[in-house]
C-alpha cells in the first residue's frame, strides 16, 4: 500500500478475473481500479462496470477521406492555377490524379490511426511515477492497482485482493 494505492501482482488472468469480481462486489468503482499487463489480456478482463472502447478504425477512415480529399484538391487547384502545356490532354486527368489521391488517402489514414491511438492511450505521458511493483509487469505478471482513501476502504480492498489470491 503506497500513496493511497493498493498494488497486487497476479500470475494469471484467471486470478485477476476473480479479484476484479470481488472488488466489484465490494462496490469499488471501476475508475478506482487499474489493470496493467505486458501482454494484451482477454477483453473481458476489465473492472466491473468499466468498459474499453476505441474509435478505431473509424477515425482511420475519416483520416483517409480527409487526406485523399486534401491531396486531390492540392493537385486540382494548383494544376489549374499553374497550367502546364499538355498538348490538348486534360490538366487534371483522373488516372494520374488518382495515384496521388490514393497516397494522400493512405497518409491521412496512417496519421489519423496513430494520433487516435496515442490520444486514447494517453501517450506520451513521460512523467508518471513508477509503482512499487512495476517490475513484476516486466516478468509477465498482471498488476492490479486500487486507489482508495487511507484507512477507510483500504482494509476491505486488501481483503478482496488477498481473497482472490488464496
Amino acid at each position: 500500500m503506497t500513496d493511497g494505492r493498493l498494488h497486487a501482482a497476479f500470475a494469471t488472468s484467471a486470478e485477476v478475473r476473480v479479484a476484479l469480481n470481488r472488488l466489484g462486489q465490494d462496490g469499488v468503482p471501476p475508475d478506482a481500479v487499474e489493470i496493467r499487463s505486458s501482454v494484451p489480456l482477454e477483453h473481458d478482463i476489465v473492472p466491473v462496470g468499466g468498459r474499453i472502447k476505441s474509435r478505431l478504425p473509424w477515425t482511420s477512415v475519416v483520416g483517409g477521406l480527409v487526406g485523399g480529399t486534401a491531396f486531390f484538391m492540392l493537385v486540382k487547384l494548383t494544376s489549374e492555377a499553374y497550367p502546364l502545356p499538355t498538348g490538348g490532354m486534360p490538366i487534371v486527368p483522373m488516372p494520374t490524379t488518382g495515384v496521388i489521391t490514393f497516397e494522400g488517402l493512405a497518409i491521412g489514414a496512417v496519421i489519423a490511426t496513430v494520433a487516435t491511438m496515442l490520444y486514447e492511450c494517453g501517450l506520451p505521458s513521460l512523467f508518471k511515477k513508477a509503482g512499487p511493483l512495476d517490475h513484476h509487469i516486466a516478468s509477465d505478471h498482471i498488476l492490479v492497482t486500487v486507489t482508495c482513501d487511507e484507512g477507510a476502504s483500504s482494509a476491505w480492498t486488501a481483503k478482496a485482493l488477498e481473497t482472490a489470491r488464496d
Binding site: 487499474e34 493512405a106 489514414a109 496512417v110 490511426t113 513521460l126 517490475h135
Partner: protein
C-alpha cells in the same frame, strides 16, 4: 490460463539491449566504416559534379537508379510481409515481424537517398516539393517521378510508425526491468523516453491492437503501390522493353521476392549471431521458405511472359535490347540471373531439407545478386539501345558509383547493428502473447501455435 510466459529464454532477446555487447559494437563499427565510403564518394561527387559518375548519353540512368529500385524492392521484405501475416493471423509471424519491419525502414531510407545522389545537386531537390514561391516552378503531378515522391514518403512514414507502434510495449517492459536493475543508466533513460509512459492498461492494449490492425490494412496497398509506381517510372516511357503493361505486377513480385531473400539472410545471421534459434526456428524458415518458393515461381513466370512477348513481337527496337540481353554482351548477366533466381531456388526450396536456415540463406544471397542484376538489365539494357541505332552507347560505372553501392550496403548493416542494440529484434510481448494463446488453446494445439516449437 497458465502462469507468466516470460522466462529465461527471453534473456537472449533482452541481453543485446540491456548490456554492452562487444560483437554488436564491432559490427556497427565495421559497417559504419563501409558506410563512410558512401558519404566520401557522394561528397566527392558533390564537389566535382555529376561528371565523375559513369552515366552519360544515352545511358543517363546508371547504378544510382539501379540501386534505387533495388533498395526499394528490398524494403518490401518487412512491412508488407509482416502486414500480410498479421492480417491473416499467422501465429508463426511473431518472431519474424520486427526484424522484417526494420529491414523495410532502413532499406527505404537508403533507397530514398539514391534519387538525391542521382540528382547531382541534392540541394535543389526541394523544387519537387509543392511550395509556392517566387521561383515560378511548380511540380508536375502528372509525372511518375512525383508519384514516386508521394508513394515513398507515404510508405516510409507508414513503415516507421508501423515499426514503432508495436515497440512501445517492449520499451515499457525494458523500462520496468531496467528501473529496478540500473535506474540511473543512460539505457534506462532511453527506454523511459521510448516507452512514452506506456502502462499496459486494457484500454491501451485495445487501442494499440486496433491501431496495428488498421495500419496493417492500410500498409498493404501502399506497399503494392510503391513498387508499382517505381515500375511506372519506366513503363510510362515509350522505351524498348520498358513500355509494358505487366511491369507493375512484375516489379511488385520482384520486390517481394528480393524482400523475402534479404529477410532469409538477415534471419539466418541473427539466429547465428544472437543465438536466437529458439525463436527463429526451423518452422519459421520452413514457412517463409515456402513463400520464397512461391515467389521464385511467380518471378520466373513473369520474366518468361515479359520476354516471350518481346521475342514474339519481333519489333525492331525491342529485339535489339532483347538480343543484347539474352545472347549478346549482357547474356552472361542475364543467364546468371536466371540461374540464381530460378534454377537454384527450384533445386533447393521444394525440399524440406532445403528450407532449413542455411539452405534458405544461401538461396537468399543468390537471389539478392540476381535481383540486382535484373534491375541493372532493365535500366541500362534499355538505355544502351535508344530507338535510333546511331545513338547507341555504352555504360561503365565509375569508382564513385561503385563506392556508393558498397557504402549503401554498409549503411544498411550499420543501421541494423545499431537497431539491434536499441530494441529487441524479436517482439517480447508478441511472443509472450503467442505463448498465452497456446496455453489457452490447450496441449493439443500448443505445438501448432507456439512460435518457439522446434520442428523435429
Amino acid at each position: 490460463m497458465a502462469g507468466p510466459a516470460a522466462g529465461a529464454h527471453e534473456e537472449v532477446l533482452i541481453r543485446p539491449v540491456s548490456t554492452f555487447r562487444p560483437k554488436l559494437f564491432v559490427g556497427s563499427l565495421v559497417t559504419g566504416l563501409i558506410m563512410a565510403v558512401l558519404f566520401y564518394s557522394w561528397g566527392y561527387q558533390i564537389v566535382n559534379d555529376i561528371g565523375v559518375a559513369g552515366i552519360n548519353r544515352p545511358v543517363f540512368w546508371g547504378f544510382y537508379i539501379v540501386n534505387f529500385v533495388f533498395w526499394i524492392g528490398i524494403s518490401h521484405a518487412g512491412t508488407l510481409i509482416s502486414a500480410i501475416l498479421r492480417v491473416t493471423q499467422a501465429e508463426w509471424r511473431r518472431p519474424v515481424t520486427r526484424c522484417a519491419e526494420a529491414i523495410t525502414t532502413f532499406a527505404l531510407m537508403i533507397g530514398g537517398l539514391f534519387p538525391l545522389i542521382h540528382l547531382g545537386r541534392p540541394w535543389v531537390f526541394w523544387y519537387m516539393v509543392p511550395i509556392p514561391t517566387d521561383r515560378g516552378l511548380w511540380p508536375n503531378f502528372r509525372s511518375p517521378l512525383m508519384w514516386d515522391i508521394m508513394a515513398i514518403t507515404t510508405y516510409l512514414l507508414g513503415s516507421i510508425l508501423y515499426l514503432l507502434l508495436p515497440m512501445i510495449p517492449d520499451f515499457a517492459i525494458l523500462r520496468d526491468r531496467m528501473m529496478r536493475e540500473s535506474p540511473k543508466s543512460l539505457r534506462t533513460l532511453f527506454f523511459r523516453v521510448a516507452a512514452l509512459g506506456w502502462r499496459g492498461t486494457p484500454q491501451q492494449w485495445y487501442s494499440l491492437e486496433a491501431a496495428i490492425r488498421a495500419m496493417a490494412v492500410v500498409i498493404i496497398p501502399v506497399a503494392v503501390s510503391v513498387h508499382t509506381i517505381v515500375s511506372w517510372d519506366f513503363a510510362m516511357a515509350i522505351q524498348p522493353m520498358w513500355h509494358s503493361a505487366i511491369f507493375g505486377p512484375y516489379f511488385v513480385v520482384g520486390a517481394i521476392y528480393s524482400g523475402v531473400a534479404v529477410l532469409m539472410v538477415a534471419m539466418y545471421l541473427l539466429r547465428r549471431g544472437l543465438g536466437i534459434q529458439e525463436f527463429l526456428n526451423d518452422k519459421v524458415f520452413n514457412n517463409l521458405g515456402l513463400m520464397f518458393l512461391a515467389f521464385a515461381l511467380l518471378w520466373g513466370y513473369f520474366t518468361f511472359a515479359e520476354h516471350l512477348t518481346v521475342w514474339y513481337g519481333n519489333e525492331h527496337a525491342e529485339i535489339a535490347v532483347f538480343d543484347f540481353r539474352v545472347t549478346g554482351g549482357f547474356a552472361w548477366l542475364f543467364w546468371t540471373m536466371i540461374v540464381v533466381n530460378v534454377v537454384i531456388p527450384l533445386l533447393i526450396l521444394p525440399f524440406p531439407k532445403g528450407r532449413k536456415p542455411l539452405g534458405t540463406a544461401i538461396v537468399g544471397l543468390g537471389v539478392l545478386v540476381g535481383m540486382w542484376i535484373e534491375r541493372f538489365l532493365i535500366v541500362v539494357g534499355t538505355l544502351r539501345f535508344p530507338r535510333l541505332d546511331f545513338t547507341a552507347g555504352a555504360y561503365t560505372p565509375s569508382w564513385v558509383e561503385i563506392g556508393i553501392l558498397v557504402g549503401s550496403i554498409g549503411m544498411f548493416g550499420f543501421l541494423y547493428f545499431t537497431f539491434l542494440q536499441l530494441a529487441p529484434i524479436v517482439s517480447l510481448w508478441e511472443v509472450r502473447e503467442g505463448a498465452h494463446i497456446a496455453n489457452r488453446a490447450g496441449p493439443a494445439k500448443r505445438h501448432a501455435l507456439e512460435p518457439a516449437s522446434e520442428e523435429a
